[in-house]
Each structure stands twice: as C-alpha cells, then as structure tokens.
Symmetry: C2
Subunit: 340 residues, 2 copies
C-alpha cells in the first residue's frame, strides 16, 4: 500500500475527526479561548492518535463479527467513538501548547507558535482547558477503564519530561534511558490510543494487548525515525534545520550507539564538543555526522526502527487479514519510509 | 461556635486529608516532581474545599440514617471519600501553580512562589501532573457523575479567567460581570466540592441541590470578604499590602458600587486614576479609600457578603440540626469574621 492509497483510505475518518474537534471547540464558551483552540488544533496535523483509536476499534469490532454478517467497510463507527478518538488529539494539543511556553517556541508546524500570537497566560490556560475537556470526555464517553488508561498515559508523559530534564545534562545517556524517555514522551499515549479503541469495541483481552503492543512499537519506531531524520533528513521536506539535536546537545540513538562503539580518543573528542557551546557544535556538525556514520550509529538506529516496525506487524497477526489490519500495517510501514 | 472550637472539630479530618495527599504525592514516581508537589501542597493551607466534600458527605449520610441507628460522630468516612476530597485540593493546587507562572509571582502564602524555586517548565508540568491525577481520581473514586461535575467546574474556572482578561481593562465592570467572574473563579469549584460529597454519600436530589447552593453562596461570600480585606484588612494579618487591587487597577465590588453611586466629577477623577499608572494610584490610595467609604462601597459589599452567608445558612435548613450542619454553619460564619 503506497502513501497515496493509505491517505485516501484514511481521509473519511480524518474528516470526521476534524468535524468532531470543530464541534467540541465551538462549545468552549469564550471567543478568545475558541480562537486559540482553533489555531492550535484545526491545522494540517496528521491525526495519527485518533485514527489509531478508530482503526483499533473497527478491527476489534470486525474480528468479533460472525463470518459474513457484515462487510468491514460497512461498519460505521458510532459518533461517540470519534469523540473518544478526539480525546487523544486534545491531549496531544494540550501538551504542545504547554511545550510552546516551556520551550519559548517561535514556530510550530511551520506557523508562528501560539505563545507568540497570544501570551503565555492565554496559552497555558487554553492547554488546561483542553486537558480538562479531554479527561472529562475520556470518562463520560469511554468509561472509567478508558479514563484510567488515559490518565496513566498522561502521568507517564509528564514523568518522562522530568526524567529527561534530569538526564539531559548527563551526556552519558544509556540506550535504556533513551527508550524509557521515548516511551514516556510518545509511546504510552499512542499505545493508549490503540488500547482504548480496542476496549471501546469490546475487543478480547488478547486483542486489547495486541493493539497496545502495536501502538507501543509504532510510537517508538516513529521517534527513532524522527531522530534519524534530524541528522539525515532533507530540511526542505522536514522543515527543520539539520543536526538540530546535536547542536542542542541532545543525545539520540545514532549518537548514543556511536559513542558506545567508538575508540576512547574519539569519545573524548565528542564529549568535549557536547560540553562546549552550541555555536561550536554547529561548526563541527560534519565531524559529528562522520563520527556517527563511521561508528555505525545510523545503521544501528535504522535497524532498531525496522525491528520495532516488524514487532508492530507481528502483533497484528492475531487479527484476520482485513482492511483495518492492512491500514494499520500500512501506517507502520509509512513510519519507516517517511521523509518528514 | 468560635474559631478555636471550629478548628478543633475540623482537625481530625484535616489530618486525614493531609495524610491522603502525602500518600498520593509519594506515588508520583519522580523525585523532582514529588519535591515540587510537596512544596506546593503540603503547607498550611486551610483545606476548605476537601473539608466541604467530607462534611457534605457526612451530613447526607447522617440525614439518611434511620433515627437512633448511629451517633453522627461515629460515622467514619471511608478512605475513598478522603481521596475524592483531595481531588479538590489537587485541582486548586494545579491552578495556583499555573497562576504563579502566569502572574510571574514572587510569593505565595508567605513563601517563595514555586516558579522562583524551580523554573516555569517544571512548575507548568507539575501543575499538569496534579490536574491529570485529580481528574483520574475524580472518575475512578467518585464515578462518572462526579467526573462530569468536576470537569464542568474546572472548565468554568478557565472560562472565567478568559472573561476576566477581556473585562479587566474595560473599567466599567458591572456588578453582574463581577459576580460572574467570582462564581467562575471560586464559586463553581466550591459548589462542586459540596455537591460531589453529597453525591458520594448518595444524598437525595434535594440534599445535593441544597449543598450546591450552600457552596456557591459560601464561595462568593468568601471572595467578597477577600475584596473587602484588600482595602480594610490589617497587612500584619493578611500578609498582603493594603489597596493592592486598586493599585493593580482591578475593580472589585466596593469600588464598582461606589463608582455607580457617585457624582459625575468624582467618577471622572477615579477613572483618570484607573487609566493612569500603578505608581500614581499607589500615591492616591487614601483618596480612593475615602471615595469608596463616602459612596457606601464598603457598607454595600459588607451587606452583600452577609446576605450571601445568610443564603448559605438557609440552604442548610433542609437538614437536621446535627454536628456537621453546625460545622458548615460555623464555616459560613467564619467567612464573615475572618481577618486573613
């Protein structure tokens, strides 16, 4: 399934998700608040998280059907499933709004970041509003188990942010720590998006667990590829400057692996750069790139991402080979081939 | 009931609330996060909101009892009620942490504000964590109706913040707007604290409504007294500089009423000050004080607070004249007599 085909299959659900979000936002009850929410949410976002909730639910619903009772594409998800799916985009949006304030961001997705359009106060409060609405909808639409899963994932995300703050200046970040932060910052919410969809459609315990595993692997693979694109991507496509992570002194998998595998004198040289100034690191970006390449860092991260996507494929083996499973496999494949 | 007697009756519940909060915080799962939460929550706070939840629950539980089956002071609230009560202190704490960042506060409750001890990033994230935990506990402990009530109250609080931002620079704030912002910023959460306690103890619809009305009136009275203390309080007791609201150009009930009642030339004079600089307003504080006094602003606000406390008393009339009702009446009375 190529990207065009995949997007065409996803388009009707994306439109429903956007419509659901638009309707929720229009009930916020304050013009300024609604303006901020529209600006930050009704954009060109890929809607990956809510799509996963809907696809997981549809897959479980179809799998439970007695054979021949319905064609899969006739399974119209109930309105409430779209509202439950939107919870994940709201939570993601709330965390991006607060990140904009925390990072004092200038840009987000190619546009002026919300904190530069309004003030920090408005952006913090708009994030809080999204958060509150998301948690309330999680419970009232998805039930207490969904609320508990989503609350657990959100707590884990914040814990990972604190863990990252504590480790970011250590420069001896282990691969284990790297994956732990990655899982907290992205994996748990994506895994919850899948699991909550499966719960909503009353999938079996085995099916719920399979979709959680799929989401976890997909989320990690996505982030590893992100870290690769930071060094190897085409800035015209990614919209980000190349080598940004290295300039910021942020250790990601390619560099972590290279530093583990290199000779002592090269290790010391890279460590000196990491402990130095960002401007100096920017000047030595080609050197860092060569260092990672020579010590197998890029290849290792690429293989890691492939293994994660393979694990995501495998976790889907418990389901029949139907349309939703094909789309979920297609999404996992897309993660590996994406260039932005 | 005097203040000492009231506090002695509340003390055992306050200790249980603090113990519950301490236990929840210790499970946050990150040392730095736990440190921030302890600093901001385990202080000398009055715990008004969680106390209201517990008292409302106990009052409903006792009222439902067949006569003579139990003495009221033998009704030990279940552990879960304390967890549900703690939700309100967590939500209040989350909003104070974010307010510290928004206001760039230097002090909070006489101590260095959290954002000056740590950074904005950590404080925003700690607030988010509290918020997530509170909403999750609201649902899993209190059930979906409690979650919906609490989510509604939290959304209304944020809406009121936005409303205040839009009106703060208008200087023609009506009494109606003033009470609408007051209700959003304090009343709804206090009303929800009472109503959720009543729901938890399965109080009748009439009893739930009575306690909601009590909480709403109590919350408004508390804030009106706060606005009076800002002009008339003893800084040694309140810990705040006198006339702060006027210096900041913030219109509260005493000033709103005086401006409505005064002669045109006095109105213009005060409006000039409001549109001027804070330093200038500080110099003219005695003049503003005299203006409010002469135009009956203090007396009007005082009478308003008394009428609200009277309404709070009256709403309790549907309950038997028992210990919990006496304490709730005592709290309402305390609101009027408090000096800090």
């Amino acid at each position: 399934m190529d990207k065009t085909e995949l997007l065409a299959l996803l388009q009707p659900d994306i439109e429903q998700i956007n419509e659901t979000m638009r309707s929720e936002i229009s009930q916020a009850g304050n013009a300024l608040l609604e303006e901020i929410l529209e600006y930050s949410l009704l954009n060109e976002g890929k809607r990956i998280r809510p799509l996963l909730t809907i696809l997981a639910a549809r897959l479980c619903a179809f799998t439970r059907m007695p054979e021949g009772l319905a064609e899969e594409d006739e399974l119209h998800p109930p309105v409430n499933l779209y509202r439950l799916a939107a919870v994940f985009e709201f939570l993601h949006g709330a965390s991006l709004l607060h990140d904009d304030v925390i990072d004092n961001a200038g840009k987000r997705r190619g546009r002026t970041a919300a904190n530069k359009v309004w003030g920090n106060s408005q952006v913090i409060l708009a994030g809080d509003f999204l958060h509150t609405r998301a948690m309330t909808m999680a419970g009232t639409v998805g039930g207490l188990h969904a609320l508990d899963l989503i609350g657990g994932a959100t707590s884990a995300m914040i814990r990972a942010e604190f863990q990252q703050m504590l480790t970011v200046k250590e420069f001896n970040l282990s691969e284990k720590n790297y994956f732990s932060v990655l899982r907290g910052k992205t994996g748990v919410l994506i895994a919850a998006a899948c699991e909550v969809g499966a719960c909503f459609a009353e999938g079996s315990a085995e099916h719920q667990a399979a979709l959680r595993t799929y989401g976890d692997a997909l989320g990690l693979a996505f982030q590893v590829v992100d870290d690769l694109l930071d060094y190897l991507g085409d800035p015209k496509k990614t919209g980000k400057a190349i080598g940004n992570d290295f300039v910021e002194g942020k250790l990601t998998l390619p560099l972590i692996h290279a530093m583990k595998n290199c000779e002592n004198k090269d290790f010391d040289r890279i460590m000196d750069l990491l402990k130095g100034q960002p401007a100096d690191r920017e000047n030595h970006l080609p050197e860092a790139h060569g260092f990672i390449e020579e010590n197998g860092g890029f290849a290792y991260a690429r293989e890691g991402a492939e293994a994660l996507v393979e694990a995501a494929f495998e976790s889907l083996a418990v389901f029949p080979d139907c349309r939703s499973r094909k789309i979920l496999s297609g999404l996992a494949h897309y993660v590996l081939t994406r260039q932005k």
